[in-house]
Symmetry: C2
Subunit: 467 residues, 2 copies
């Protein structure tokens, strides 16, 4: 038996038919709810969030560790009260959704405060269940000080541990973007930091020269890095202290804090139990309006498969931008809007100490799947006029179809103006520009701000010559 | 009687028929010659330059004045020897072209070193005669210390005056972008600087709020500004010293150095005398391959009318980017290439002390001529995540067609990431994107580098809502 509830809504009447329920108070869920509100001022909108926290900027957490951001609270961007007051969106925290009945249009949540189940009807529902950090079996033992960071709860637990135990030797497991950001944050906090990467290179999100430069930057800043062997186990005193990590090749790394950065997996259990179709990698399958296989149910964010706007193929890209963008699009569609979701270019940027890397579009493997005439052109340019003090080298790799010249992807690296310059490449991908088109753009120039031929023009122009 | 000359060329034979002559060793002329060489390794290429100098970066000169650039020589980017050795391009300096005979395919230059005339035949010719700084009648008197800056000669004369006379009170006449840059350069050099603008506002290249912010920035840095009255005359001791400027309203401004920034006019005398058609404002008329009305003669750079790629109308935009881009395109066309010149978006950026402004596309007046349903949307965003230290406000003005949503132009202002962000707008103009398209781009995000919704997304998204 469950209590069937309708939320109070404006205008009275049989409004339960017009309720939108969003499962997940993360970036995707809140972007969806907000966009639905913009589209339809009269809709009743309910967000169900299992944790006590919403709107946590996980992307900002490494910069709290580093000390760049002094106030942990500033990482919580919006409160439930903000949504209730400013956007007339009801947010119920500590409500873990336990079942979903697509045919009856009912969703049931466990209210963890009251210890009871509550069932809500909906006209449309958006799944924004997110992703969870992979942790192998490392969190199953009873050794303290091992963390995998994804949600606010994880971050808070780590912060609590730092305050209580004052660890001095950190081990980060995994050399992906997140692992590198965490390593930097802990290093800047003053800890001895080792990063253990099982493969032979860092930063798998980028091509090899980028990982190589980042490695140099990290090592120059005092971060130790081990390659080519995975962590197999940890030793220490159960419930008391951590001593060391043991690698598969037998090496032992002393540590009293471990951050696991082993990747993430979509939280698609709810969808799966409800009979909703999953795609490759157990990700909730969606169409271009972010509709799932179940009528009136949408999915967005880190639980959803998204369209790669360059290749037109399904992709999984659990990042803040795609969460917000797909959430907004799902909210738009669920509230009756007509715009589809154009998809993701997998654009991203990250700064490691003073070195910034940025990318957009297909990587080399994807590009080779997409075309048999891939060309890859590397070029070196400057961030400002060469004669202007502070001018920094910019390295650009451009991927394009050697026959048509169609741009397929780009990566950039340097110490100035990288993350904003990659956006011109991202726009070019959406517009299906060739490298010729790009090389002929009219871009801004001023000696302290850009060379006469901006790195975007220089790199695409060189690519156009190699066509 | 003239000596008819053929330059030595590779491969021997009757090569005079394959000679390209470029009139002007400025940015446009050298870009043209270089691109022609890339396109055709066998072409004989001759550049005729009237002054002793080529390849001078006038854009960099204010930063030499300011002390940002310590070495004046670094403003001369390439030497004649570089072109001869590396690109097999013959550059003759101190050769002032005195006549051009399009029907006979002959061009005559006065060799100022030898004091004789030399005539060259050509298969194709590119006019890159540039522009000259307007100076009213102010340079005609015999008062010292009055300069108008355009070419290397002007800059050298000013530098010589600074060294010899050590002036301490500078007056800059004209509040356009160049005038503002010169005022900043002289101020940073330690001089008392007054800027006299005849109208009521600064920075006519941008809309009013931008000039207003720049005014505040300039005044905060100790630059005096007078508005609403033009300079009518100067007083002082002829051949000896300058005393003051007299404004039309009677005010008197003491000064011992004057920099005129009154705008520029195309140097189209040679073209006109040769019977080549001029367009509005006495600019050499060109088609989309930068061909003039005379067969086999092209024009590029600051002497040429260029296509506005947004409106499709003729425009005059004497800037470094358009000089280089149109020069390159003219060289391509003259050497037998097939690519046309896409035109200019009038993209530009400038930094005044710590404040950067950037623009692209139509201004409000042009946009109103172009569409009867113009919309202008202002928005405020941040350069980084709001919670990240160093995050700076970004002000964006977007011009678009209220019916179709077609982007027509954009202006941005702030203290971080402005000049590179405007380029995404510039790319969108070339791709004929709507503000909706723009607001749905997948742009880079990382807390220290950009907010989740980049200013480009935020400003175009707001515009899309107001459609």
């Amino acid at each position: 038996m469950y209590k069937r509830e309708s939320m109070p809504v404006r205008n009275g009447g049989s409004m339960s038919q017009k309720r939108l329920v969003v499962v997940g108070g993360n970036a995707a869920g809140l972007a969806a709810a907000s966009q639905a509100r913009r589209r339809n001022p009269d809709l009743s909108i309910l967000v169900l969030e299992q944790s006590p926290f919403i709107s946590f900027s996980a992307c900002g957490f490494p910069y709290f560790l580093s000390g760049d951001i002094p106030d942990f609270n500033s990482l919580f961007i919006r409160s439930p009260e903000f949504f209730r007051r400013e956007r007339k969106i009801e947010v119920l925290t500590r409500h873990r959704v336990v079942s979903l009945d697509p045919s009856a249009h009912l969703v049931t949540a466990h209210d963890q405060e009251k210890g009871e189940e509550r069932t809500f009807d909906y006209e449309r529902l958006i799944l924004a269940t997110g992703a969870r950090a992979l942790s192998g079996d490392f969190l199953k033992g009873s050794l303290p000080g091992i963390f995998a960071i994804r949600r606010a709860e994880n971050a808070l637990a780590l912060v609590g541990f730092l305050l209580a135990r004052k660890p001095s030797r950190a081990l980060v497991v995994g050399g992906s973007l997140l692992g590198l950001e965490m390593a930097e944050g802990l290093r800047k906090r003053g800890m001895e930091v080792t990063l253990a990467e099982r493969s032979t290179r860092l930063l798998p999100e980028f091509s090899e020269p980028f990982g190589e430069e980042v490695k140099k930057e990290m090592m120059r800043r005092g971060i130790q890095i081990t390659f080519s062997s995975a962590v197999s186990s940890f030793t220490g005193e159960p419930e008391s202290s951590l001593r060391e990590a043991v690698l598969e090749d037998g090496r032992r790394l002393p540590c009293d804090l471990v951050v696991l950065a082993l990747g993430v997996a979509p939280d698609a259990d709810l969808a799966q139990k409800a009979g909703i179709a999953l795609g490759v990698g157990e990700v909730v399958a969606t169409d271009r309006f972010l509709r799932t296989s179940a009528s009136h149910i949408y999915a967005a964010g880190d639980c959803a498969a998204l369209n790669n706007l360059v290749s037109g193929r399904e992709t999984y890209f659990p990042r803040g931008t795609s969460a917000n963008r797909s959430g907004r699009a799902a909210g738009e569609a669920a509230a009756g809007g007509e715009a589809d979701f154009p998809g993701v270019a997998r654009t991203m940027a990250a700064r490691f100490f003073d070195l910034t890397v940025a990318r957009t579009g297909l990587d080399e493997k994807e590009a080779r799947d997409f075309t048999s005439s891939l060309k890859v052109t590397d070029s070196r340019s400057r961030s400002r006029a060469g004669y202007f003090p502070g001018s920094e080298p910019v390295f650009t790799r451009v991927l394009f179809d050697g026959k048509s010249g169609l741009l397929l992807g780009a990566e950039m690296m340097g110490r100035e103006g990288i993350a904003t310059r990659i956006n011109t490449y991202a726009a070019a991908l959406s517009a299906r520009m060739t490298v010729d088109d790009l090389s002929r753009l009219d871009l801004a120039y001023s000696p302290p701000l850009s060379p006469l031929w901006d790195p975007v023009l220089q790199s695409s122009g060189l690519a156009a010559l190699e066509k």
